[in-house]
């Protein structure tokens, strides 16, 4: 009886992932059409664009890019469910990826009055991972740290070596995560009550995808948190053994 129920749940889960995947693929083409049209207009190739018009066109372009990212996340989530997430491992420099993640989020951080700093101890060896996917995971964690700030935000990112592992941490002084939500925070589509109050929009996919990427890369992700005081998200990745000294 129980086995049949589980089988039914698996089938329903598979169908849902497949539907998500089909919808996401179908959304891509019209999004590319809108994105490309806006890019051509903004570039001025079709004639002069007034600064005020450009400002609105850029907003539209940013929103389309947000939708493209959401579609990518939905597809990644469906691939994770179907155990089809492909990782292309290569020597990856975490220091560089963290710096890029900070750069990518700098405008957002300034807009939300958040100070972001980065510290690392000595030389950080390369890890063997899918550079683009780890970048996505780091971005998701840093984005959350900035997004769920209260008043004046402070985000501190650290990298350190411990044995054969590189440990990443991202500490914020944001809203924190209550104990009752701790177990669900990495679940697909899950969003905490406070998080929804603060930022109503959000897919609840960022941490789900980040965990899958880190774990599939041989690492582990976890967090500590005090409600009202902030959270620290950690992950570790194993050091790449062959080319340890090539930085």
């Amino acid at each position: 009886m129980r086995r049949r129920k589980i089988k039914k749940q698996i089938i329903r889960h598979d169908i849902r992932s497949e539907v998500t995947s089909v919808i996401a693929h179908q959304l891509k083409t019209p999004l590319v059409g809108i994105k490309s049209s806006l890019e051509v207009i903004v570039s001025g190739q079709l004639g002069e664009v007034l600064p005020t018009q450009k400002e609105y066109l850029r907003i539209a372009l940013d929103e389309v890019e947000r939708m493209v990212a959401l579609v990518r996340d939905l597809l990644d989530a469906a691939r994770i469910d179907q155990k089809e997430l492909e990782l292309k491992r290569q020597p990856t420099d975490l220091v560089k990826l963290v710096k890029e993640a900070i750069d990518n989020n700098m405008t957002f951080a300034k807009a939300t009055n958040t100070e972001v700093s980065f510290a690392f101890d000595g030389k950080i060896p390369l890890v063997s991972a899918d550079t683009a996917k780890i970048q996505q995971a780091i971005n998701n964690i840093v984005d959350n740290a900035i997004r769920y700030e209260q008043r004046r935000g402070k985000v501190v990112i650290r990298l350190k070596m411990a044995g054969q592992k590189i440990i990443f941490s991202c500490q914020d002084n944001g809203i924190g995560i209550p104990n009752t939500e701790a177990k669900k925070i990495f679940s697909k589509f899950y969003r905490g009550r406070k998080a929804i109050e603060l930022v109503p929009t959000g897919s609840g996919l960022g941490l789900y995808i980040a965990r899958a990427i880190i774990e599939q890369s041989g690492g582990k992700v976890w967090f500590t948190s005090k409600p009202g005081q902030g959270s620290t998200f950690y992950f570790f990745l194993p050091v790449q053994l062959k080319n340890r000294n090539n930085r």
Binding site: H25, K28, T29, V32, G33, K35, S36, V40, E86
Partner: protein
């Protein structure tokens, strides 16, 4: 006046086909368009384009089939093919490159304003390869 390179755009979404073709025309290329796999292959064989922009998911004949057939004909096997698709999985990229595509762009990840630059890059590479082969002969 110097003859402009001719680019064949094989893309089944008519809006995207128009966007890519208009962009290339604005950048001075001659452009031919096809909206199905059959039409695309027929134009490759008959029009002798300098470069082909090829989507993968196409009606009648998919992009990988077109690429494979192009490699069977002496007059089309050296035409550079730039795949422009929404299939961004590594396995798809690997298949495309193994079948002989010179480049692979994922539609959501690149800006259309860079399309002309990409095309010119591969045309220059083709020219260099051609000159190198001639010198070797």
């Amino acid at each position: 006046m110097e003859k402009q390179p001719k680019i064949l755009v094989i893309e089944d979404d008519k809006f995207l086909n128009k966007l890519y073709s208009d962009q290339l025309r604005r950048e001075g290329f001659e452009v031919s368009m096809a909206i199905s796999g059959d039409e695309g292959l027929s134009k490759v064989l008959n029009e002798n384009p300098d470069l082909v922009i090829l989507d993968i998911v196409l009606p009648h004949k998919n992009g990988f089939d077109i690429l494979s057939e192009m490699k069977l004909h002496a007059h089309t096997k050296n035409i550079p093919v730039l795949i422009v698709t929404n299939l961004g999985q590594d396995a798809d990229i690997k298949t495309g490159l193994e079948l002989g595509a010179v480049g692979y762009l994922v539609k959501t990840d690149f800006s259309i304003t860079k399309l002309g630059e990409e095309v010119r890059k591969y045309l220059v590479m083709k020219q260099k390869k051609f000159s190198h082969n001639e010198a070797a002969d």
